[in-house]
């Protein structure tokens, strides 16, 4: 597949180069159609969100009220804070205008006149790159009042975060944008009814929005034929950990994980065996290295394998990896990032970290393993947002799939 999101064109981040390669033509064509036809095109493409939940994007757009006395908003989620995920950054750096073109098309389709691009605070260099692209797009008439003489106008502003994983959760992101602590909100009401400042709001991931001009360019039918049938399109897969050539690779959905590891990412470092992979960022369930045959990078295949595609941040761990130490580090992360609103998550993530540290010190007992699972089970499903689940799943899946890793760290009582 020719890369569609990150084509290897030198200086594509420059607006003149982007234009010379057909950039903003999709926006022009969209503006010539009724907005509902644009949404319909996205719907028929079967594009599913690339931020982790895989929700059908076109369907999400139809949740927005057509007539609204209140203003409507688009939020583009560039918080990119799921460990193992570093794909949106590539779009900011190498193809920022694709994102902006997608944003303007989305705004037109939903009748939105203000869009916010929320980018994590750490990404200051990439915020500056995006800001340059935004300024150029304004100057060329692609953003702002009366876009390309269509009579339709939208503003787009970049909003910088300040270090909080939870702000990648859509309702936290909205609170953060409103200048509040980034606490998740209870749903329902959903953002399409009650989002930013109580107004109808759609939140899409950066990569999701970047797919929109591609759909208009090649047509929904052609797009729907790329990759896996139920989860089609190009996808940016980030490979990290024990591989020779880590990085972000664009491919159609549905490529076998082993193909990604061995061909795209140059194989496992030192030709070692794969002990485990985390397929879609640290929240997704861990898989055993020997169980990867036939498992592909798409929502359905990974669901069947007992995990999920998440953000397609594939973390590879070789045979020498101490998975309990890895899990303890993941548990530390969720404890650190828990916003503290819900007791099961606030307390439970701390308990899990503490227990796992006992394993790391070889001071754990069999009862600790049961306690660890019990705590994880009592977090899952009992919190306002998905951070609780995200903290529980790695623990549950690691205990289930790698019991021997825990056994190595259990100190048997002297009397046994």
């Amino acid at each position: 597949m020719e890369p569609l999101l990150l084509p290897p064109i030198p200086d594509l981040h420059r607006i003149d180069v982007y234009e010379a390669h057909g950039g903003y033509a999709a926006l022009k064509s969209a503006l010539g159609k009724p907005p509902a036809a644009v949404t319909d095109e996205v719907k028929r493409s079967n594009l599913r969100g690339r931020g982790g939940a895989c929700f059908p994007t076109g369907l999400k757009w139809t949740f927005m009220p057509k007539d609204s006395a209140k203003p409507k908003y688009l939020c583009i989620n560039g918080d990119e804070s799921e460990p193992g995920t570093f794909k949106d950054r590539q779009i900011f750096e190498f193809n920022p205008h694709l994102l902006l073109e997608g944003a303007m098309i989305a705004c037109y389709a939903m009748g939105i006149t203000t869009a916010y691009l929320y980018i994590r605070g750490e990404y200051k260099p990439w915020i500056d790159m995006m800001q340059k692209a935004v300024d150029d797009a304004y100057a060329h008439g692609y953003i702002g009042k009366n876009i390309l003489g269509s009579g339709f106008g939208t503003d787009l502003y970049i909003h910088r975060g300040a270090g909080a994983y939870i702000c990648g959760e859509e309702s936290s992101l909205m609170n953060s944008l409103e200048g509040l602590r980034g606490y998740p909100r209870v749903k329902p009401p959903f953002p399409a009814q009650n989002g930013l400042w109580g107004c109808p709001t759609t939140i899409n991931n950066v990569e999701t929005i970047a797919n929109v001009p591609v759909i208009l360019r090649i047509g929904a039918e052609a797009y729907a034929k790329i990759g896996a049938e139920k989860h089609p399109g190009p996808i940016l897969v980030g490979v990290s950990g024990h591989v020779n050539k880590p990085g972000v690779f664009e491919m159609p959905t549905g490529v076998p994980l082993l193909d990604i590891i061995n061909n795209y990412a140059g194989g496992v470092t030192g030709n070692k065996r794969i002990k485990a992979v985390i397929p879609g960022g640290s929240s997704t369930m861990v898989l055993r290295g020997e169980a990867l045959d036939g498992v592909c990078m798409d929502a359905e295949s990974l669901k069947t394998a007992g995990s999920s595609v998440g953000t397609a941040g594939l973390i590879v761990m070789d045979e020498d990896t101490d998975l309990v130490r890895v899990l303890a580090r993941i548990a530390h992360f969720y404890h650190h990032e828990s916003c503290g609103q819900c007791t099961p998550c606030r307390e439970g993530t701390g308990w899990m970290e503490k227990i796992l540290n006992r394993f790391c010190r070889n001071e754990a007992t069999q009862a600790d393993l049961e306690l660890l699972l019990d705590v994880a089970n009592n977090i899952e499903g009992n919190t306002i947002c998905a951070l609780g689940d995200a903290a529980a799943w790695p623990v549950q899946s690691m205990i289930k799939r790698f019991p021997e890793e825990f056994a190595k760290h259990i100190q048997e009582p002297a009397t046994a």
């Binding site: 203003p71 990119e80 804070s81 799921e82 460990p83 193992g84 995920t85 570093f86 949106d88 950054r89 994590r120 605070g121 750490e122 990404y123 200051k124 260099p125 503003d155 502003y157 909003h159 910088r160 975060g161 300040a162 270090g163 909080a164 994983y165 953060s176 944008l177 409103e178 200048g179 509040l180 602590r181 980034g182 400042w197 980030g238 490979v239 990290s240 950990g241 024990h242 880590p246 990085g247 972000v248 985390i278 640290s282 941040g313 973390i315 761990m317 990896t321 130490r325 890895v326 580090r329 993941i330 992360f333 650190h336 990032e337 916003c339």
Partner: protein, 162 residues
Amino acid sequence: MSAPQHPARLSEASLRRIEELKKRYPHPQSVVLEALWMWQGEHGWISEEGMRYIAGILEIPENHVYGVVSFYTMFNRKPVGRHKIEVCTNVSCMLRNSERILRHIEERLQIKVGETTPDQRFTLVEAECLGSCGTAPVMQIGDRYYENLDTEGVDKVLKELR
């Protein structure tokens, strides 16, 4: 710790910028993160005095600003060294030996994680995933990312920043 030497206010340029930013949102409260970034940029850290000042400008309660500052990890609530070194130790960096990078910096600077060198040049902290997993291990100093680190690379950076 010495008190901030700058007057407890924002520069005229920042104040003008805040007025511009207010127009982007229905409520000035949305500018709080950006205003805090400006304060930290000018003063190095965010004192209670700074929080009061920003609350005044945005016409929001002081306790609200405090709530925001204490929620986000990138805001310094106490003075830090001139260069704040943030070493990512999350999974992808851990798998590529970020621990060794961290210990090496501790040894070079003779401080532990969370401490500042006596000459106020460096503060060392552990960071959560910086979104640079393909070029791990990574550290951030100020706005800049240092990727694909090894101990020699770290030494070079520390020397340059002295």
